[in-house]
Assembly symmetry: C2
Homo-oligomer: 428 residues x 2
Amino acid sequence: MELRSTQTPDILPSYWYNIVPDLPEPLPPMIHPSGEPVKRSELEVLFPRSLVEQELSTQSRIPIPEAVRETLLMLGRPTPLIRARRLEEALKTNARIFFKYEGVLPTGSHKINTAVAQAYYNAVESVERVSTETGAGQWGSALSLAGNIYGLKVRVFMVRASYLQKPYRRILMEAYGAEVYPSPSTKTNTGRKLLAGNPDHPGSLGIAISEAIEDVVSSEGRAKYSLGSVLNHVLLHQSVIGLETIKQLELLGVERVDYVIGCVGGGSNFAGLSYPFIGYNYNNGEPPVFIAVEPETVPSMTRGEYRYDYGDTAGLTPLLKMYTLGHDYIPPPIYAGGLRYHGVAPSLSILVKNNIVKPVAYPQDEVLKAGLVFARTQGILPAPESSHAVKAVIDVALKYRGASEKPVILFNLSGHGLLDLSAYTRNY
Amino acid sequence: MELRSTQTPDILPSYWYNIVPDLPEPLPPMIHPSGEPVKRSELEVLFPRSLVEQELSTQSRIPIPEAVRETLLMLGRPTPLIRARRLEEALKTNARIFFKYEGVLPTGSHKINTAVAQAYYNAVESVERVSTETGAGQWGSALSLAGNIYGLKVRVFMVRASYLQKPYRRILMEAYGAEVYPSPSTKTNTGRKLLAGNPDHPGSLGIAISEAIEDVVSSEGRAKYSLGSVLNHVLLHQSVIGLETIKQLELLGVERVDYVIGCVGGGSNFAGLSYPFIGYNYNNGEPPVFIAVEPETVPSMTRGEYRYDYGDTAGLTPLLKMYTLGHDYIPPPIYAGGLRYHGVAPSLSILVKNNIVKPVAYPQDEVLKAGLVFARTQGILPAPESSHAVKAVIDVALKYRGASEKPVILFNLSGHGLLDLSAYTRNY
């Protein structure tokens, strides 16, 4: 066995990596519909000051507070980096496949990495309650747990279709002490308006964001908003994934990586793994191929436009420059609820536009079949979101069947699928 | 942080610990209804030779085959040993609480430890298919995965009540490629007879065992039987839990343990953690208090009789000397399906009879509330089975509120509850 001690506490970094200063072009500012850049004070209505600071930061390294680091250690970081030998054998590939496995964390995905940081800063600034949206429920579960750890109330607007189809995720959030409302809800004007038009409205992530923001804005300063992806500070917090991986690869004696692959909804798990590899000029000037995988039915990167757009449906957020399908796009119901978002992170959009990250899109059935191949070889049933990455990994690996090269493929297994099992029934 | 490198591969032992030679009295042999001890050749109808060898072994240490060890490493062993600091703080106890967390393994519980070993030996002896029963589904999932790894077919008889209430577990088994039948089923005489009497028969673990055994006996040698608890070889395979823990405690500088606590269905997770502490004379002659926790509604140890009884409902297994509620006892439906078994392991029964292990029983609601306390402090929602151990831990820890002693309480968090969330809804 070549396994080494790659889960010692020192593997968890003491700082986060911020890609903003290393982007190939400056990050366009968030703007108002008027075209004016958004003011810091305006962002502070939504977020605590320290997170606004991080959102706008141009520093490469931002120290992780010791209290956050200890919580991440308690919850199971560093997560394992595992070589997928049985998958390699099943594919008869010469490629070596490694995956970072975030599913060992208590809510089953990477989302807790930023949830802990966000809850911590909100608590330090004496915020009483955080409000958020959730689609598949992974983000909502993570924030519910993190809020509980730091003594914050948590209110979650859960896309109604998921709320009805996925009672387990709702129960998990409630078990952590959160309030969960199906969105559209009767708690907000946005929700009430939509329900008036259609009492059975299935909801969307964009609508749930609008509701959470409205809830915060009308809270008279007692509540702040919390987002699980897209924004700089969220992607920043996820950089622990890639920073740990770089150290773990070194311990395993793996000197170069040829492909870095992840799935993309808003971009946070993909960024978490890949940005440190981009920023650190990994492989000394021969960068890996970075592949960002999205569903064919939500093709923000492969078929969206690069332009300013709202982050939510009702147009309550500032405008972000990003690849988008339009903020009024309602993605069709797919199993990977975490990827049903009309846009992608502005920083990732710049990397796609500059051909540093290559986007690909796959149809749902092929993705779920790839997830089953992974379960049957490596034992872990991936979240349907993560199965998108697995599908791309398999396609790359198959190119190296009988090849003389032995490239290293690295991917992020961002979560397990134990709360999404019904997704797989059609594809046995 | 006092965390140290306690998940390196060398923590996983290279041998299993067998308590049989260290029991305070000899283990009574399995017998036939005639009263004659069961012959080795008779057991070999049900199990491959190497497992029969282990079942009857009186050696203390049995080497773990390297192929099994590598699979256990691949699946995530060694599992973490975690100090439950936030639980300690919430309880305002002076006790230090540590838990071994088996829920990081892919099927979410400790069951994979023996599933891998059993599947390996069956495969080495060219068995085509293994047949088993499952209650809550944790054992069935584990064997389905392990069978898949070693290229064995797996057939699972799943207690009908669970089959209907827990489609997710069934889907997971099928995702790993197993055949799953609701028990009583139409595949066996036992099943058909019961269904004739009651087409909606909810089933029980004892009935499902009868079906699996009948399936094997009528397979003309192509299939073998596999059991997830109770038998010596199963408890043997689980000893990796306690052996790892002893090494991990040493690395953490914890020199003595005052309480060792686990839940008991058939006894395998409890034995896995505690037997090495019993056998190694831990604390140098001042043994920890060993507490075995069962549900009040299935009180095998606290209210059962110590006598010979069948392991299944139909009387197809040999007779085992154990604490039992009677093989025809049908436990009421409780959330902790893994604890719904009429007997307990013969070796554990001897330890209970000799006052080495102290049994306690708790009502379901208190247990589930304890599970929620754990989720809200440590972040991990326990399996309803494991919440029994948590309840006992909390009760012991509360005795040391404001005490001058700082005892160490160790328990086995044998699995997470992400596939059993509905259990918790009544108890928010």
